[in-house]
Amino acid sequence: MISAYYLQIIILVGINIIMASSLNLITGFTGQLSIGHAAFVSVGAYASALATLKLGFPFFASLLCGGLVAAFFGILIGIPTLKLKGDYLAIATLGFGEIVRIVFLNLEITGGAVGLRGIPKDTTLTWVIISVIVTLFVLYRIIRSRVGRALIAIREDETAAESMGINTTYYKILAFGVGAFFAGLGGGLFSHYFRYIQPNSFGFLKSIEYLCMVVLGGLGNIWGSVIGAAALTAIPELLRASADYRQLFYGAILVIMMRIRPEGIMGEGIFRKGNSAGDYLLSKIKIKFNK
């Protein structure tokens, strides 16, 4: 019999796998750096919780509702901001994330700063496992399809992709929409597991945590997100034994991990510098020059 604590960590690992792999679609495959993923999660968490509490939806419908509302916001923020590139897009998503958090903090219907309590505990291990499998399956199918190749083309070279006839705006919005949908789904699982939600757990630090999972696991590799999510959920718990030094070690581990394997555990290509063998060789030569 597995202890309830381990069960909780396993469930959280599952939920974080959904968050990380959906962010990986946006950041790892499409190359759009997003520091606002927690906003989609919180939109989904609130939407599904309210659907259950106020509208009496069954659990499955609430989850779907959370995902759809988050996807709607993903597209909404996607349309105007997607002409931004690189770090400008990142900061716009960060701003969006903070705006969402502050709005939830002040809205009457979400309980404001007090939060929303009394959400039924519908999330079980079975639900989480099913959701993880569905998420990974759908993302895998997308990536292996024509759409996925278009997304990767956008990441590698947006201008070139456009000149090849790829409607870059459409595909970028698609990536944001799908990514946000799964983040919202995960948010629904989150709120129906903890039975309580409050906006302060969905700040930019949370978005950065998801980003860390993606990069640590390996950009552009779905299995990497699985490993990244599992590692960064488990490490802080393992570090509990080190008491006051816990966060210190956590920070150091991030630095050391990146130093040992900058491309992430499962990563292979060099993001934004081209994936070709030639580029890779070139980067090696440059290092020699510097030394």
């Binding site: 590139k85 990069v215 640590l216 966060q247 920070g251 991990m257 993001f271 510098k273 440059k286």
Partner: protein, 290 residues
């Protein structure tokens, strides 16, 4: 009241601008969002506070010592956390920066404890009052010092040899390297100058609000970063403008829209500005990049 709020915004904005300068300089050279910059700002404030209260060092000496020591810290962080990742992806370096930030914040927490420390103001508190605005002596000093530091920085970038090397490196690292510029040296210098400015902001905010805590770098760090992007990341005048604009926007948002939505208003303005100028206010011209 409008004028008073404008003054409030400019004072707040000038501290954001100083923090933003550190971000933007580093970004201009190695395209890295230096997340640990907020922590350098915090360490600067702590060093200043300890020098003044424990070692009784005169304030202005403490101010420069804090800048110097924070430079060393910035250089160390660069050497340990960023240099090994220079040829890898930008996101890997970003995660390393986040790790460094968490590490430094909790290091301060372990050394100093979590309670806020009081940072006694070295200036006699004095208020200048006109019929429209009230401004305190500390605020005037913050404005003057910020202005002088920015002026000094502009001189450094435009006129000195290291400044020219910085600009060359920002434009094209490889060519600059071929021209005999030691890239490592330039990067070290950039971190040193950026961190010193961050520490200066930290000390000034410390005396302004009379307290320092290990957590003080978190929000200003984020705001400084936002200000840098708002102005056009990589651009030095952009960082100054972005900082001031963000400060004024935040204050006006709190005053005329709703104090509950203070930060939301600031971020809203950021997004709107980016929609019309997708690379920040002064971000497009490569020549200005440092």
């Amino acid at each position: 009241m409008f004028l008073q709020q404008l003054v409030n915004g400019i004072v707040l904005g000038s501290t954001y601008a100083l923090i933003a300068l550190g971000y933007t300089m580093v970004y201009g050279i190695i395209e890295l969002i230096n997340f640990a910059h907020g922590e350098i700002y915090m360490f600067g404030a702590f060093i200043g506070m300890i020098l003044v209260t424990v070692y009784q060092v005169p304030f202005f000496i403490a101010f420069f010592l804090a800048m110097a020591l924070a430079s060393l810290l910035g250089i160390t962080v660069e050497y340990l956390a960023y240099r090994p990742l220079r040829r890898s992806t930008r996101l890997a370096a970003l995660i390393s920066a986040i790790g460094a930030s968490i590490f430094l914040q909790n290091l301060a927490l372990l050394i100093m404890g979590s309670r806020p420390y009081s940072f006694p103001s070295p200036f006699v508190s004095k208020i200048y009052k006109t019929s429209f605005v009230t401004i305190s002596k500390v605020e005037v000093i913050i404005l003057i010092v910020s202005f002088l530091l920015m002026l000094g920085l502009t001189f450094l970038i435009q006129k000195t040899k290291i400044g020219i090397a910085m600009r060359a490196t920002a434009q094209d690292k490889d060519t600059a390297s071929l021209m005999g510029i030691n890239i490592n040296k330039v990067i070290t210098a950039t971190f040193a100058v950026g961190s010193a400015l961050g520490a200066a902001a930290g000390v000034m905010v410390g005396i302004y609000f009379r307290s320092v805590t290990p957590m003080m770098g978190l929000m200003p760090g984020l705001k400084g970063f936002v200000a840098a992007v708002l102005g056009g990341i990589g651009s030095i005048p952009g960082a100054m403008l972005g900082g001031l604009l963000l400060g004024v926007a935040e204050v006006m948002g709190a005053a005329y829209i709703s104090s509950q939505y203070r930060d939301a208003v600031a971020f809203m303005i950021l997004i709107v500005v980016l929609l019309f100028k997708p690379s920040g206010l002064i971000g497009s011209s490569l020549q200005e990049k440092v």
